[in-house]
């Protein structure tokens, strides 16, 4: 920062700094892929800073050591690639980084600087191949600005050196009046212009791909929907604003609805462990979709189609489904590297899974029957449960007697449907929701129901399950997410903090029906802080980046062309007075045309004015003399006299070998340079004389 203190930077400093910043941007483009490795992540910035302060001292020193190091690195990377331990693009990126470090410590002449910029460009390309994240986009933006500075300053520096020589250029290169903030801003504007052009080319360049050497994207799963929960935690449940699902619904919810009240089902956990729940162990079978039972007298609504993107690292093989009876699940675009090979499975609890587990974002569509079960239709279905529900009826032997009493009080002599509703209502209305965890308890449910009387969603759902099972009604704990918040990017975002737990109760010939004993106002998360909003905005930006840049393909291109076509056609239709708002459109277009015409007229007038001013620099006789010579020149050329661009009027007259030409040139020279008068009649007479003489010759 001392460079910018007070006096600004010299051209030389600006050029070197811009080169270093371009290298840093290119490095960042690679680093965001998180594949470079910790050593390079630390080494490169350290080398960059070191080179800035001490690079000059080592120029052309210990060259052999660098050569040995680079050759050694090349051999190691090549061996790793051949052995299949290292991806070739990653190896190339790492090697380019090493070369870049070497160049940063050895930069003095034009070749060094240009090689550095070339390596930066290669790094950027490697970054493009390694990562498709939004952060790459920011690194790309930074690179476009810094590389513009670097290229312009490098060009200027070496033009000055070659144009003025080392001695003559020294003062100019050290001058602090060249790399001014105005020039930096101008070059920034230039890079902006470049980015606009880049966007134009990007969107219009035909997306015809060959598809060879395509590199699958990589990622590391960081979390997942586990097959067990533990109720003996300490502390407070913190809101996690990270987005786990991006959801687009068809039909969309009511207009203007900013948040969803939707349960996103992940796993059913049937086995009570004493301190929590775990999933029943069962095998996976190819997914089937039995027809839904009729649980409503109302006319069936059209099914809900939920287009879901499960963010990498959160779904971990589990397919989350919206409320309702799943009718179909299909994988959608964009497909991952293994997209078409994904298979859908379902376990005995009805949970959906896919294999192989995709480590990138996964996109799929769930079609679900949306009919809300009516209590009337759930009643009277009896209590004869099939034997495979044994796990969902199991009650722990050491169950607190108070819980049995409470269960009896709430469910005695009631139909299972009414009993479930009563338990749900009791829990949601008499107990309080709290994000404070109770810590380790011998019996967390009894502690929740009879002592603390407040807790989080898992305690509510666990209590309801145990109360129903005590009454002989099969029930199970279900985990997933609740809610969804609308984003400007056109989807509902479900966040990690929206993790929720609820209950499914089994009714013969109706299947599992959802009950949620957690007070409605407390379900999901309340993420309204600045950080939560920032995370949501970042996710929305990431989605736009992916939708418009990463996933832009021939189909999207065709759609764009189609959209432009239909827009133009609609405009044409309105202009011809056929559509709504035709008058307004005509008004707007008329205004635009008037603006353009006015601008053109202004431009033309300015040119005329400037032209007049330029012309005014010459006197009338001088202008007449110029005109005379132009006309004479044309006549001489037509007469076959060879006139080159360098032929002077005197030479032309000599070549013409006629006295009239000499006379004309003398009059021209006198008027053009000697301040003599030349009237229009004189000029015409001279030209006539020349014509006659040339005809005679």
């Amino acid at each position: 920062m001392k460079l910018f203190a007070g006096k600004g930077v010299s051209l030389l400093q600006a050029q070197q700094l811009a080169g270093s910043l371009a290298a840093l941007s290119a490095f960042a483009a690679c680093a965001v892929s998180e594949e470079l490795g910790l050593a390079l992540l630390i080494l490169f910035p350290a080398a960059l800073i070191g080179a800035h302060y001490w690079g000059g001292r080592f120029y052309e020193k210990a060259q052999w050591a660098w050569t040995v190091l680079v050759v050694f690195a090349f051999l190691v990377f090549a061996a790793q690639v051949l052995a299949g331990q290292l991806d070739i693009v990653l190896a190339a990126a790492r090697f380019a980084l090493l070369l870049c470090i070497h160049r940063l410590w050895h930069r003095r002449n034009q070749r060094d600087e240009l090689l550095l910029l070339l390596l930066c460009l290669l790094l950027l390309c490697a970054g493009a191949a390694l990562s498709a994240q939004l952060l790459f986009g920011f690194a790309f933006l930074a690179f476009s600005v810094t590389a513009t500075w670097a290229m312009a300053f490098t060009h200027l520096r070496f033009e000055i050196e070659s144009g003025r020589g080392p001695a003559g250029s020294a003062a100019l290169l050290q001058s602090r009046r060249i790399a001014t903030p105005a020039l930096l801003a101008g070059l920034g504007g230039l890079s902006l212009l470049g980015l606009v052009g880049s966007a134009l080319i990007f969107f219009t360049f035909p997306r015809v791909t060959i598809g060879g050497l395509r590199r699958p994207s990589r990622g590391v799963p960081v979390a997942g929907l586990g097959d067990r929960i533990d109720l003996s935690g300490h502390g407070t449940i913190a809101d996690d604003p990270r987005v786990v699902l991006r959801v687009r619904l068809d039909p969309p919810p009511d207009a203007g609805r900013k948040s969803l009240t939707e349960h996103w089902r992940a796993r059913a956990l049937s086995v009570w462990t004493g301190l929590g729940w775990r999933a029943l162990e069962s095998g996976l079978a190819p997914a089937r979709f039995p027809p839904p039972p009729k649980l409503s007298k109302a006319r069936r609504q059209p099914p809900l189609v939920a287009d879901i993107e499960a963010v990498a690292g959160f779904s971990e093989g589990v397919i989350l489904t919206p409320e309702g009876w799943p009718l179909a699940v299909s994988f959608g675009r964009p497909l991952s590297a293994r997209g078409s090979a994904l298979r859908l499975y379902r376990d005995a609890a009805g949970d959906f899974f896919y294999q192989p587990v995709e480590v990138g974002d996964l996109r799929y569509t769930v079609v679900a029957e949306r009919t809300t079960p009516e209590l009337d239709l759930l009643r009277g279905r009896g209590e004869k449960y099939p034997p495979w529900l044994a796990a969902d009826l199991a009650v722990p032997a050491d169950l607190d007697p108070r819980l049995r009493d409470l269960s009896r009080r709430l469910t005695a002599e009631k139909d299972p449907a009414d009993a479930a509703t009563a338990v749900e209502r009791y829990l949601s209305s008499t107990l309080q929701y709290s994000r404070e965890l109770a810590g380790e308890q011998k019996d967390p449910i009894a502690h929740f129901l009879f002592e603390r009387r407040k807790g989080h969603c898992e305690l509510f759902s666990s209590a309801m399950v145990l109360l129903l099972r005590t009454a002989g009604i099969p029930a199970r704990n279900v985990t997933g997410y609740y809610g969804g918040e609308w984003t400007d990017a056109g989807y509902y975002a479900v966040r990690a903090g929206d993790a929720h737990s609820w209950v499914e109760v089994y009714f013969p010939r109706a299947g599992w029906v959802l009950f949620d004993p957690t007070p409605a106002a407390e379900r999901g998360s309340r993420q309204e802080g600045l950080w939560a909003r920032a995370v949501l905005a970042w996710d929305a930006l990431q989605q736009k980046w992916r939708a418009f840049i990463v996933d832009y393909d021939l189909l999207a291109q065709a759609q764009m062309v189609k959209q432009i076509g239909s827009m133009l056609s609609e405009a044409g239709r309105r202009l011809s007075g056929k559509g709504a708002g035709a008058a307004q459109l005509r008004l707007v277009l008329g205004g635009l045309v008037a603006l353009v015409v006015a601008a053109l007229l202004g431009f033309a007038l300015r040119r005329v004015r400037l032209g007049g001013r330029r012309g005014a620099m010459l006197g009338i006789d001088e202008r007449r003399a110029l005109q005379l010579w132009r006309r004479a020149r044309r006549r001489l050329s037509r007469a076959g006299i060879e006139l080159g661009p360098a032929t002077t009027p005197q030479e032309a007259a000599e070549r013409a070998r006629v006295a009239a030409a000499h006379e004309l040139v003398a009059a021209y020279s006198a008027a053009r340079w000697g301040g003599a008068r030349l009237s229009a009649e004189q000029a015409r007479a001279l030209l006539r004389g020349l014509d006659r003489a040339l005809a005679g010759a």
Partner: protein, 320 residues
């Protein structure tokens, strides 16, 4: 006349690399379908386009004039000025190279920045190898701004000629063929000279330097002095180049030029006699230039008439 719109575009070495790399990245993008590579490709192509627009902006509205020295001598450096004027109302021009094109002379100057509505001059040194007419045809204003990828140039008609005088050599130890006395020779009449011719009364309004103070003191009134007109020695340098050509002719011309200069420096009135042409005797800077110009343009004249020396002048014949 070269039209205003005419441009010449060439790749620089960096530009060739850059273009090659762009094609390579384009192929990689098409091959892999990686959109981010398309984005990089877009940036590279856009940079080329922006570079073209800016270089055009730099060249537009720049007028260049050549400033030739009043005289140049073969073998001696001459400074040629190139005056560039940016006539654009607002936009500056960057990194301009001004250079000769198409003529006998090669030279270039460089301007880092030419602000709008301003002029700047660059100069180059030119060492002519031969005497005679050196023609200048066009001036070219070129720029590789902003990135040095391409060079765009605009030719401007600027025909001109520079006459290079013969190379300076030591004058030969020549004696005149006819008898001629050294130095100035006084004539017996009033005129301009150093010797006193006569004394007379000082006339009002006359230059005070004409007062003869000693006589004035003696006479008690102002006495003026008339000087005697001095007659300069007349020398004719003769060059018979009927049988001379190539190096012999050059040597003879150079010696003739040296003689002309030597005699003029010595205060003589010098005339020049060549085959078929001549220069009447005279002195002063303009006469010297006229004589040197004539010698600069001497060509072999195998069939020319014999040189005719000026009558009454001492003749110095230059030979190889």
């Amino acid at each position: 006349m070269t039209p205003d719109w005419k441009r010449r575009l060439t790749f620089t070495r960096v530009g060739r690399w850059y273009t090659g790399l762009t094609i390579g990245i384009g192929l990689a993008a098409i091959n892999t379908g990686n959109n981010l590579l398309f984005l990089v490709l877009g940036l590279l192509l856009a940079s080329i386009a922006v570079s073209g627009i800016l270089s055009e902006q730099s060249l537009k509205g720049v007028r260049v004039e050549r400033r030739l020295p009043s005289g140049a001598t073969a073998g001696e450096p001459a400074l040629i000025g190139l005056l560039a004027r940016n006539t654009k109302p607002r936009a500056p021009s960057f990194s301009l190279e001004l250079r000769e094109r198409g003529g006998d002379v090669e030279g270039r100057g460089f301007l880092v920045l030419l602000p709008a509505q301003q002029a700047a001059e660059a100069a180059y040194r030119f060492v002519p190898e031969r005497r005679g007419v050196h023609r200048f045809e066009q001036l070219e204003v070129a720029t590789r701004a902003p990135f040095g990828l391409f060079e765009k140039s605009r030719p401007l008609d600027a025909p001109a000629e520079l006459i290079v005088f013969p190379r300076r050599v030591a004058p030969p130890q020549l004696q005149a063929r006819s008898s001629a006395r050294d130095g100035e020779r006084p004539e017996d009449r009033i005129g301009v000279g150093y010797e006193m011719h006569s004394l007379r009364d000082h006339r009002a309004g006359e230059d005070a330097r004409t007062i003869h103070w000693k006589s004035s003191a003696r006479a008690g009134r102002l006495i003026g002095v008339d000087r005697e007109q001095e007659h300069r020695r007349r020398v004719c340098v003769l060059l018979d180049h009927r049988r001379l050509s190539g190096a012999m002719l050059e040597s003879a011309v150079e010696k003739a030029a040296a003689l002309v200069e030597r005699e003029m420096d010595a205060g003589a009135e010098v005339s020049l006699a060549l085959c078929g042409e001549g220069l009447a005797s005279g002195s002063g800077e303009a006469h010297l230039r006229a004589a040197l110009t004539m010698l600069a343009l001497v060509q072999p004249a195998p069939r020319g008439p014999a040189p005719a020396p000026e009558s009454g002048a001492a003749v110095l014949e230059a030979s190889p």
